[in-house]
């Protein structure tokens, strides 16, 4: 294996603008994400964090009336020019803020992605299901009822099921959008441990409303506000007493409106 240089850019965003209809919500932002780092993204509600993630895996296209300009490259390839958008989406694991247990069995919830990618051998699928459920700290709770419905799990369990599903296609990039909204602190801690493990072979984008979570996990943190990057720096700097921009300190300390 080639030795990956420490600052190789995994994702590169240049001049990204996004508008819903007439309303522009991302105003030309540029930044990059390094391979195998955890990038924390913090910012108040409506700042465009979720929209940013949806631009990266191109699910923004499912919302009518959106207009995107600027470029996003993943592994040097412009996402808007990729031939196989489904392969791109499988390269990126996406965990939505609200838990979504699909109305399928727990097993099928996780096997859906490998199955859509063309994997059919039951043994392989079962192995993936077990591995992903373990990584999402859910295996022990559901291993005896894999064939019951995913929608009948509790909210927190469904959220971990969502995480397991995002891992099921062995993504190189994992986007977590406020994953801990529906989970209790103990489970959150367990998943955070998993993330520390996963970061050795994945690039992780961690959108979070809990600034302390970014502080605990992220290598670098980006403060997004009203569709613009206020500051992007190492987590230590962002959370230090003197970040470059005073708004960052205000937000991190909770003074911000």
């Amino acid at each position: 294996m080639v030795n990956v240089p420490a600052i190789e850019k995994h994702i590169e965003v240049t001049g990204l603008r996004l508008s819903y209809g007439m309303k522009e919500v991302l105003h030309g932002i540029s930044f990059d994400i390094r391979r195998h780092e955890i990038l924390g993204v913090i910012g108040p509600a409506q700042s465009g964090k979720t929209s940013l993630l949806r631009c990266i895996n191109r699910t923004i296209e499912f919302t009518p009336g959106t207009h995107v300009s600027g470029t996003i490259t993943v592994d040097g390839e412009d996402v808007r020019k990729v031939r196989d958008v489904y392969a791109l989406r499988r390269k990126i694991g996406m965990v939505a803020p609200l838990p979504v247990g699909l109305p399928l069995s727990i097993r099928e919830n996780v096997a859906l992605a490998p199955r859509s990618a063309g994997l059919t051998r039951k043994g392989d699928l079962d192995a993936i299901v077990e591995q992903c459920l373990r990584q999402a700290a859910l295996w022990d709770e559901v291993k005896d009822r894999l064939d019951s419905l995913g929608t009948k799990l509790s909210g927190g369990q469904q959220q971990r099921l969502t995480i397991a599903r995002a891992l099921s296609h062995q993504p190189e990039i994992l986007c977590l959008d406020e994953f801990s909204i529906a989970i209790d602190p103990v489970t959150t801690m367990r998943i955070e441990e998993v993330l520390k493990e996963l970061r050795h072979h994945m690039t992780i984008i961690l959108v979070t409303n809990l600034t302390q979570q970014a502080r605990r996990l992220a290598d670098r943190t980006m403060f997004l506000w009203k569709g613009e990057i206020v500051e992007l720096d190492t987590t230590d700097v962002i959370f230090s007493a003197k970040p470059t921009d005073p708004r960052t300190r205000d937000y991190v300390e909770g003074v911000f409106g």
Partner: protein, 302 residues
């Protein structure tokens, strides 16, 4: 807090009593209106059953009309109606479902799809006699199917199509968008999403919509009268396959009209018994739709 304040807060004061009285009155009035719906149904069914009583037996269903349709049964008309209904559904259900899937899952909001939507809505409002004329022109003459079961079923199919599309779209739209997004996020195509998640969870609504169209198709007279249903057709008693599809057939709705208004000296109970059979067919189909719905609801997955 002591008991007396509690009493003052929650006890009945004159305005509260007035509100309660109004509430009770409203409930009573609305309830009575709803209950009144049962009355016409019971009256219709009761009246029909009483008048039809002498002819109500299995023989009546299986026997063919006799003595210039003044006696005997209704088998040819009964089978004809089944033919027409099932054949028309065989056309309209697949087309309707696929069209609705396109409109609800694939279509972007552009002028072309808006025109389709408009067409569907307006087609649903076209009176059946106009459908009948269209069927006559399009299927009987232009397509050269002649007066036949095919022409009549196609006409019925065109008539039921917009309602099937509307019902299917509604069923599809009731599947939460978040399910679709979850599938898209893991790299499933639109079709994989529809197949794995959307259709299995909307099938109850789709089937109910289709089955309810059966009753409409069974009851229509004008569209089939113009395109392929005849007065009388000689058929074997109890024969399940008496017609070829390029032939004309009899149908219950038309038969009822004929024996009630065109044929003198019909045994008095026969038209009423014919109406009972038509009504029973429709009610049975509706009951099937309802129980299917209840069954699928009970397995609803979220």
């Amino acid at each position: 807090m002591n008991a007396s304040t509690g009493h003052a807060m929650f006890g009945e004061t004159p305005p509260v009593r007035r509100k309660l009285r109004q509430e009770a009155l409203a409930q009573w009035v609305f309830g009575a209106m709803a209950a009144a719906m049962i009355v016409p149904l019971l009256l219709i069914v009761g009246y029909l059953v009483v008048r039809a009583a002498p002819s109500l037996n299995l023989e009546f269903l299986l026997e063919v009309p006799k003595r210039g349709m003044t006696e005997g049964g209704i088998w040819p008309a009964f089978v004809g109606t089944l033919y027409l209904v099932f054949l028309s559904l065989a056309f309209s259900a697949p087309i309707g479902i696929l069209a609705a899937v396109y409109l609800n899952e694939y279509a972007r909001d552009n002028w072309f799809n808006r025109v389709i939507n408009l067409a569907v809505i307006n087609l649903a409002g076209v009176p059946s006699i106009v459908h009948a004329l269209f069927g006559l022109g399009a299927f009987v003459y232009a397509a050269r199917f002649g007066y036949s079961i095919i022409s009549a079923s196609l006409t019925l199919a065109i008539m039921t199509l917009p309602v099937i599309i509307a019902a299917t779209r509604e069923a599809l739209a009731s599947v939460p968008r978040s399910f679709r997004e979850a599938c898209w996020n893991v790299g499933a195509t639109r079709w994989q999403t529809i197949w794995a998640v959307v259709l299995p969870n909307s099938i109850s609504g789709i089937l109910t919509g289709i089955i309810l169209e059966v009753s409409r198709a069974a009851g229509e007279t004008a569209p089939v009268m113009f395109t392929g249903v005849v007065f009388f057709k000689a058929v074997e008693r109890g024969d399940l396959f008496p017609y070829y599809l390029n032939e004309q057939c009899m149908a219950l709705s038309m038969h009822l009209y004929t024996i009630s208004t065109q044929v003198p000296g019909v045994k008095e109970s026969i038209p009423f018994a014919t109406a009972i059979v038509l009504l029973a067919l429709v009610l049975m189909v509706n009951a099937a739709a309802i129980s299917l719905r209840v069954y699928l609801r009970s397995r609803k997955k979220w």
